[in-house]
Structures are given as C-alpha cells and as structure tokens.
Amino acid sequence: MKRHTYWVRAAGIGTLVAAATLLGAADSPTGGEQGVRAFVLSNIYIASSGDAGTCPQMADGGLETYYKLLPPEERAKYASAKDPDKIEQSKRMLLEKDMNEHYGFRRVAIRGGSPGGAVPQAKLPEGFDPNAAPTPQDALAIGALNGFPKGRGRLAFSNLTVAYSSCTNPEDFPELARGFTTYDGKVAPGIDLDGKRSKDDFTGMDGAKGVDNQLWRAVGCVKPFREYGERKVAKKIFISARAPTIVELRGVDDPRNDNDVTVNVYAAADPVVRDGRGEALARASFALDPDKSLRSTTRGRIVDGVLTTDPVDLRLNYKEQIVDAPREFRGARIVARLLPDGSIEGSIYGYYTLESYWSSVEQMTQNGANLTEVSCAGIRQAIERFADGYRDPATGRYTAISSAFDFLGVRAFTIHPEQQASAQ
C-alpha cells in the first residue's frame, strides 16, 4: 500500500514536470491575454418597463383561470377564507390534481426515476436509446405508445419526461387563456430593431422612439416576468448558472473607446461560482461548451465605455432548474456598459424565435406554470398574436418576436478548446 502511495506521488511529480516541459513558453500574464476582456453573465433576464409602464391588472395563471371557470359550488372547495376570488394556498395542490384530471394532463418518464414526482415510466419505442438526447419526433412516438391524444406529447422537465398539458399543447386548452392580460403601456425597454415606425412601437425607457419589444407587450403583465425583470431582484439571482453565457471582447486597445472590437458570445461548460459575498466570482476561468451552435461572433465598438455590437444571431444556453431550452435570438444587438470595477451590465435586443420560446414554456411543465402563476395557453396566444419578426415566406407567419433582455456579468477568462486540449 505504501509503495503504491509513493508511486502515486512520484507520478504526480512526474506529471508536474512533464506539464512544465510541455509548456515551454510562458503562460498568461497577470490580467490575462492582452486586449481580451471576457465576462461571464450571471443572469440574463427579460427587461422590465418597471414603474414607467405598469399593468392595471396582472394576468391570471393557468390554475387561477381554471379556478374561475369552476361552478361556484366547486370553486368553494378551494376558495380562500379571506378572499373567495383567490385560491386557498393549502388547497392549490388539490386543485391542480383536479385540473390535471379534468383536462387529461399527463407525463411519463423517459429515463426512469420520477422527475418532478409521481411520474410513471414510459413505454419506449423499439430501438429507442433512453440515454441519447430525445428529439421532438421521439416525444410524439412515446406519446403515441403511452396513450396520449393523437399527435400530442412534447419533451418537458429538462427533456426527462414526455408530457401533455396546457404548456406542451396550449392550442388544445384555449379556455385557460381567458384570464390572460397583455401589456398596453406606451413605454418599454428596447431599441428600434426594424428601423421602421409603427403603431405597435413603444417609447424607450430613455425616451427613444420606435422601440420594438412585442415580447413585453405579450408577457409584460405576467407576474414572475415582471418580478424577475426588476434589476434589484435580478442582481440577487443567478440564471442558467450551471451553463452560463460568456461575452468575450477581443482586440480591445482601450476599454473606454475602441471603434473596432471582435465580440464573441459563447456558452460555457463550467458553472458560475459564487464568491464570499454570494455574487458571481470574478476572474474565474470557463471552458467553452463544445456545441458550436452555441457560439456567435460579431463586431462592435466601445464609446465612452459603452459597447454596441452589429446584429448577430445568438443561441444562448438556458438551463435553469427543470428547463433546458437554449434561447435563440435573431438579428440581436448587444449594448453594454463596461464598468470600472471590471463588471458588465447590458442588454440583448433582438428577435426571440418562437420555436425556442415554446421550448422553454414546454420544459417548464404544467406544475411549474401553476407554481409561478403562469398561463402557458395565455402566453402562447399572446405571443402568436404579437410576433413581428422573420416572417416565414412559406406560411406567411412570423417566426420570432422582438424582445429586450438585460444581463449582468463579471470579468472572466475563457478557455478555448485548443488551450484545453494542450492543457490536458
């Protein structure tokens, strides 16, 4: 045993020597590679109009809508003693069970276990590999085998289940959109994405005209979006921390003013770590996700410490709790302030593709929607109604919706695949 220990130690020392020999030249200097500034984003969140544009009435969630649809005598079973218009907190689960049975919501587990609780194992099609990444077609086939309505069934709960509910198939449950309200204010965050002025445009938070942000019009009165869109709330929250996004600037001669920098947006393979204050640890190193579809490059310029990029299509990882649904933006521009403490605060303005948005809603599951008081059916209807970008010439329908997202980040280092390969 001891000899073994010696050899392990000897091997460890040998590795160090070998590593040093391989390196040959010097590594990065203090501060990292010159002309490179990278930031890991701890939160990318929907930009809110805040107090500048409020909602007279917030949208009802799916469960709240179902509750209101119940006959009075049924509703009484779940009513709050203080306010009969509201559901008694302790009876929400019971009401949800009733709702699930009423609409025939169901879900089955693909990989065994019981993700989300009480999920039966699915019968799987012959030749299906439960460990491979499932496709939407797989979900339909699994749905068919497990008694789902014909042509129904979508991936949910981080692709661990196949589900049928108002979140996976909102078109089947239009009545659950009845209590949904949209944002009718005049002010919204964003920029003029299309270069045109129309009646649907907002006035920006800074007074700019022609702001395109139909996503906020659709969901600006949904309670959790409004809450999590508040900056002071957003600062305390990490979103997609296990698969964060990196913004990397290259060719930076002067961080205050530089008329030509390369801007890379990457998905990181390493999680954001909290520092001693509970905030994102600055100057940590992040390897890149090998999925190249999660990388984009554009050019930008820095004026008085504010970065503005050219339009670029972005695909950003979005892995949060039960959601694993990359966000896709088309024609996106990043506008961000490089702060003296080395951190970054900014926005992504672009057209959020409906396909990727639906995926995030589907992943949320009915239970997730009920817990956060969201109506999947209401969101779906509103977004389809307000979508305004990238019309499909074949169908004539829009495939994306204008949007504004804010983000917060701290200095970071990116480890590129070639660096990682030589490191190993």
């Binding site: 045993m1 220990t5 010696y6 990065s28 990292g32 100057r283 190193s285 280092f413 490191a423």
Partner: protein, 557 residues
C-alpha cells in the same frame, strides 16, 4: 464510552507511567538548556500533529483515520521544530491524545482491518492469544516506539492485554486497549533519544528517527530500522547509503514540505480569516490552495528541478490550479495542479509574491507593510524585530478611508510621526511597502483609493521598485542565504545553535554554497554531519545562544 473500558486502558498505561514521568523530567532538562558537563542536551521532542498523522498512516496504512483535535504545536524561535523540544503534554492534551489513540486502536483491531493489521487471533495453539498479542506488540511496537521493545516491555504489555481481554470480554478489545495505551505513551508521542554505549552519540535507533523525521518528516521505514538494527547507521558508508536512498525517494518532498511549512509558518493559514466583503475571492478552500501552491512550487523548484535555493525569489514558475486563478487574475484551463509560468517582466515573480505569504502577513481587511516586513525580516533574514508596545495608537493607520492619506504608505508615514513607533517601523515597513501592489489576500493592484501605489525602497543599500525587484535582491542576499542554513540547522537539531555550534554552522554554509545552494545538498550535509547525532555538539562549552548575525558573518563569503 462505557466506564469499564477506561480501567483496562489505564492498566495498559500503568506500565508506562514511569516513562511518562521520565519524559517530563527530560523535557525539563531540555528547557534548561545544555547540561553542566557541556554536552548538548539529551533530546526529547514531541511529535508534531503532522508527524503523528503521517506516522499512523505509515504504520497502519491510509485506511486508518486519525480523528480528533490536537493541542496546538508551539513555535519557539520561529520554528515548531524547536518548540517540539520545549513542550510537555498538558492533562487536557493527554486526554485528547488518549481519545485519538482509542479511535485508532479501535480501527486497527476492528473487523475491517483486523485481518490485515493484527494478522493473528487466539486459536487452538494459542488459546488465550498470548502469542498473538506478543507478536503484535513486538511488531507494532518497533514501528511506534521507533526501537525494539525489550522482552520485559513485551511481556508486560502482553499480560496487560490478556487481563484487559478478560475484563472486556474479547481478545480484540484487550488488544485495542493495549494499543491505545502504546499510542498514548511517551515512547510514541515523544522522540526520546537514547545514548549509544560510547556515550558520545545517540544510539542507532535514535539516529534512524532523527534521519527519518528530518528527511521525510515521519517515522522510520523498514529499511531504516533494519539499518539501525544491523549497525549500518553507525558506519559512514551505511549512513551515507541510507541518506542517499531517502533523498532520492519521492518522500523527500514531504520532508522539504514539512521544513518550509515550518519555516514559512504556513500552518498558520489554518487560522487565517479575511473579510469576504472586502476580498470576495477569498475562502478557506482558497487559503488551503494558497499554502499548497507555495509548497508545490518549492518542491517543484528545489526538489524536482534541484534548482538553486535563491531561484525561489526570482522564479516565474508557480504551482497553480483553478481555485487560485481568480486570485492571481489569470486564466486556468487545466484541471488539477500544474506549473504556471508568468512571462518575463510580470509583477508576479518569486516567493515574495505568493498569495500565501501575502495573505498570511496582512490584516483581515487590509494589507500590512509592517506585518509583511516583520515576516521578511524574521523568517527570511533571521532578524529579531521587537514587539510593539501595548499602547500604540493605530488610528491613523487603520483609517483606510482617510481622504488625504489614501495609500497605506501615506498612512504609515503619518504614523511614524510618533517617535516611539518609528524605530521599529523603520526596520519593518520599507520591505513591506515593496509588496503593497498586492492586497490583503495577495491580489495584484496598482492603485489604492484611486492613487498610484509607490513600491520603491532600499534593501541592503540597493534600490528596488516592486516585489519582483525586491525578490531579486533577496536572491542575492548572503544574509537571506545564511538564514536558510541556520533555520535548517535549527529545524534538524530542534534547538537554537549555541556558541559551540558556530563552526558546524559555518561548515554547513560552506557546503551549501559549494553545492550550488541545493536543498538536497543542504539536507544531505545535515544528515551526514556527525554533530547531528552527537551528544556533545561542537565539542565546546555551550555559552550563550549563537546570534544569527554572528553566524551570518561566518558564513558570508
């Protein structure tokens, strides 16, 4: 714990009570310094916590866990190694040792390890287990006491084992009680040197212990014990063969780590705390990594690469891992530890820019040029800096938000207006101010409160601008060089050198210089030095303790 267990344990300890008393007496003798005959002190040195843990792992394997708290080791004259010669065990400390010993003994004789570590049991030919117990006690006793047990000792402990087994109901319980007693015995807890028949040197077993703890920081291995048993250690060739074997072993790195952990006081990192609101990158795991970084860098440069000790102050290579990347403000793509090399001209160069030392000698929320300067003076230059008076007014220095005194240098200069403070600060602060571009946890910065940080100064009549240049001056300093020799000597001998040791130290310094300031050469010279085993070091009357400066003059070319 059932009360009746204590009784047999005490029984097992009974035979050792006299030894404990003897140990205490010897400690007293050491504390008083050399004896009247002019011979060096008969050494009794307590195992440090690390030595204890390493010994248990070596004797019983890594599967045996050492669970419990140890009494803190005592630092004397800058070294725990010297402190081990000057401490006894308090009653509270003994209880801790006893509890730890019971835990170890229970595991060794327990079901999971019994077959491997005990290797025998009562049976048809050994009904009460007496043979098994004697065999175990003889075998394990040799490793624990670092010498063979006398027949009387073996018989006594075997009898105790059988008595305890009868009372506790099982042979294993009896053996466990005996083993716990041995583990709590002074023969294990203390390295008790015994004189050879000549009366001039320690005996072969003590030689083996001295060698092993110096070079590997642990109990002697089988080869070394064999060399002690067959007399090889008493011959120059045999001693040399063992020293070369041990220095060639990967375990020598452990010995070098132990030496620098002691010298640089890196164990104190366990008690380090920082204000994470001011230094959010800091955490206890980062602190542990800082210590490991320094030790890995040292063993990489001085053992693996066998480089000149002085390179430690100028090397651009440093062990690194991902945890430390944010502190050092560098990208770290590799998993695990690797050797990072800063480019030429980088402010991170050499030992003086290691985060471990910078963080260790700073306040929880700010730097301290005074603490850093004091550490450099005392640890690396072997100087003694007086303690500050009790009534110092730190108000100016601590006011980090002072609108006019924006930098630590400015605040310290204002503090120097107090004449009672200036004498010492003039000794410590200039060196510490050279490190001011590193904040309280060792992160690089160039400005403090918006003002540029001045890191210029003078050391040994040469000017410097920043830590890298200061490190270069340390590398060229004969005082820093001879300080290492003196510290290594103290570490090996467990005491301050006396006047009689001057020539020994001078010779050691010369050998070190002739061998290109290699640590391997230094430790080899220490281990082969007859004075290392002598009961009359230097052969001279022990006058006053040899001053560091005196030794410095003698070793300066």
């Amino acid at each position: 714990m059932k009360p009746f267990v204590r009784s047999p344990l005490k029984a097992a300890m009974a035979g050792l009570a006299l030894a404990a008393a003897a140990g205490a007496a010897l400690i007293g003798a050491q504390a008083a310094g050399p004896n009247e005959a002019g011979a060096g002190p008969v050494m009794v040195r307590k195992l440090t916590e690390d030595q204890y843990r390493r010994s248990i792992a070596d004797i019983f394997g890594p599967g045996i866990k050492v669970v419990g708290r140890f009494e803190p080791d005592l630092r004397v004259e800058g070294l725990l190694a010297v402190g081990t010669s000057a401490v006894s065990v308090t009653p509270g400390g003994f209880e801790q040792y006893e509890a730890i010993a019971r835990g170890i003994a229970g595991q060794v004789t327990g079901e999971a390890h019994r077959a491997e570590l005990v290797g025998c049991a009562p049976g048809a030919s050994d009904r009460n287990g007496a043979k098994c117990a004697a065999s175990f006690i003889r075998r394990v006793g040799l490793r624990l006491y670092r010498r063979p047990l006398s027949a009387q000792e073996v018989n006594g402990l075997t009898s105790v084992t059988l008595a305890a087994a009868r009372e506790l109901g099982t042979f294993d319980a009896g053996l466990s009680a005996t083993l716990a007693g041995m583990l709590a015995s002074p023969d294990f807890l203390f390295r008790i040197d015994r004189a050879a028949r000549s009366g001039e040197t320690v005996d072969s077993w003590a030689k083996a212990s001295r060698l092993s703890f110096l070079l590997w920081d642990t109990t002697p291995d089988k080869d070394l014990l064999d060399a002690a048993a067959n007399g090889a250690l008493d011959t120059p060739q045999g001693l040399s063969r063992q020293v070369d074997r041990m220095i060639a072993s990967p375990r020598f790195s452990e010995g070098v780590r132990a030496f620098f952990t002691d010298m640089l006081q890196l164990g104190d990192i366990d008690n380090l705390s920082k204000d994470v609101l001011i230094f959010p990158a800091y955490s206890t795991s980062v602190a542990e990594a800082m210590r490991e970084q320094t030790l890995r860098t040292i063993t990489y440069l001085l053992v693996d690469q066998d480089r000149d000790y002085r390179d430690l102050f100028t090397a651009r290579q440093i062990a690194m891992n991902r945890l430390l990347g944010p502190v050092y403000d560098i990208p770290v793509g590799k998993q695990g530890w690797y050797i990072h090399e800063f480019p030429a001209g980088d402010p991170r160069t050499g030992l003086l820019t290691h985060a471990s030392l910078l963080a260790l000698h700073a306040h929880p929320g700010r730097t301290s040029p005074t603490l850093r300067g004091k550490a450099l003076r005392e640890i690396l230059l072997c100087e003694k800096v007086p303690s500050p008076p009790a009534n110092v007014n730190f108000a100016v220095v601590q006011d980090v938000n002072n609108p006019t005194l924006k930098t630590t240098r400015a605040r310290l200069l204002a503090h120097l207006d107090d004449e009672s403070c200036s004498t010492c600060h003039k000794i410590t602060d200039p060196l510490g101010l050279g490190l001011e571009q590193f904040d309280g946890v060792g992160q690089f910065r160039t400005r403090e409160n918006g003002e540029s940080i001045d890191v210029t100064g003078t050391f040994e009549a040469s000017g410097y601008d920043g830590a890298a240049q200061l490190g270069k001056l340390f590398a060229g300093s004969s005082q820093a060089n001879s300080c290492l020799v003196r510290t290594a000597w103290k570490y090996a001998h467990g005491r301050e050198p006396y006047g009689a040791d001057a020539s020994d130290l001078a010779a050691l310094g010369e050998t070190f210089a002739q061998q290109g300031h290699r640590m391997k050469a230094l430790f080899r010279a220490l281990a082969l030095d007859p004075d290392f085993y002598s009961l009359a070091p230097g052969g001279a009357k022990p006058a006053a303790t040899l001053a560091a400066g005196a030794m410095h003059k003698e070793t300066t070319p």
